[in-house]
Symmetry: C2
Subunit: 223 residues, 2 copies
């Protein structure tokens, strides 16, 4: 990267960090657990959110901020599940930034328990931008291959949990679950790993339990 570009980028990241800290402080105070979903395009973020919505619904309120370069499609899919959703279309930009999330914060209903942010489909750039989340989850779909953690290390290094998606496809693709998990743990030994399929569905209850426990821990931390 060129020097001038590096300098401007450092400035932007610094200002992003401050805004993110403020978002996190505000949302955690309101007992809202915010979860940032990072992944490649098409690894199943929206489908997983649809399953999570069905599982959380009877007892918990959730809301979703959808990030996309173009189209309102993902927010519409989430709204069809009866979940409030806001679409951010970046019109070209390859990641969400905290200031984009900050503009929406006042619209999040006070009774929300979980705020999910679906980032732009991009396993590289979003990893550098804190959005004020309390939990960061990186998704890796089985057909993407088990060699991705070491090729795209930052997303895995900065995440709290790894969600393997589309596990129903494992019989049809060269994907070694153990290798994928071990590569990710080499980069980040604290990573919690969940194996899911949105189509089957499989592994959703365990994942939702983790979110609920994380929220309880967050509330206790602030008590």
């Amino acid at each position: 990267m060129e020097k001038k570009e590096l300098f401007v980028r450092e400035e932007i990241l610094g200002s992003n960090k401050k805004i993110a800290a403020e978002i996190r402080r505000k949302l955690e105070q309101e007992s809202i657990l915010t979860i940032n979903f990072l992944s490649s395009p098409g690894s199943g973020k929206t489908a997983l959110l649809e399953r999570i919505a069905e599982t959380l619904k009877p007892r918990h309120q959730m809301a979703v901020i959808e990030g996309d370069i173009e189209t309102e499609r993902d927010a519409e899919r989430i709204r069809q599940k009866g979940v409030p959703a806001w679409q951010i279309t970046t019109g070209g930009a390859c990641h969400l930034e905290a200031k984009m999330v900050a503009r929406l914060i006042s619209e999040i209903p006070a009774e929300t328990h979980f705020l999910f942010i679906e980032n732009i489909g991009n396993l590289v750039c979003p990893a550098s931008y804190d959005l004020g989340e309390s939990l960061r989850c990186v998704l890796l779909s089985a057909p993407e291959g088990d060699d991705k953690p070491k090729k795209y290390p930052k997303a895995f290094a900065t995440a709290d949990c790894l969600i393997i998606t589309k596990s129903d496809l494992i019989p049809f693709v060269p994907f070694d679950l153990e290798r994928a998990g071990n590569e990710a743990l080499d980069i980040n030994p604290d990573l919690r790993i969940f194996v899911t399929s949105a189509l089957q569905p499989r592994g959703i209850a365990e994942l939702v339990r983790y979110f609920i426990e994380s929220r309880v821990n967050m509330i206790q931390r602030h008590a």
Copy 2:
């Protein structure tokens, strides 16, 4: 994007464009057709290159420049096919730039017919950087979903051909081939579309024929 960032980015894109034009001029003069492969992580760029190598090998010389954030894995896979390959590891940067390619140009054997550049797995940022290629191909794997062209339009708008990969998985995923093709053609009516599977393999011969014809056309254009 902030004003300062935009300004620096315009400068970089301008300088990239000049270097790219110089690369294209030089390689086309040497009758080398350069092909830039763009896609999400894990959509099967390297596996497709392995199949292309097997199909081209008896009569044509190819070489590969591999772009990755970390690891030499992809270049090693290509070298195992007896194809010269150079790995560019960007150490974090989300796309290749023309200047990275320019540094390697003198090492490309003179007898090369096809130079493939496998870009960083990222459907967003690489679309903005001309690498001096004569053909740009965007890959979309079936499990990524048929709704990707309109969500990530720039890669599809700037490509010459769309390669649907992992078509062997179509029976197991919600992917409508016609919808994917129509969305892509809405964005770019001149797009050539190929349907392939590296595992089966399927559609490789048609794709290779397109590359060979494109090279013949390029040579005639310069004659």
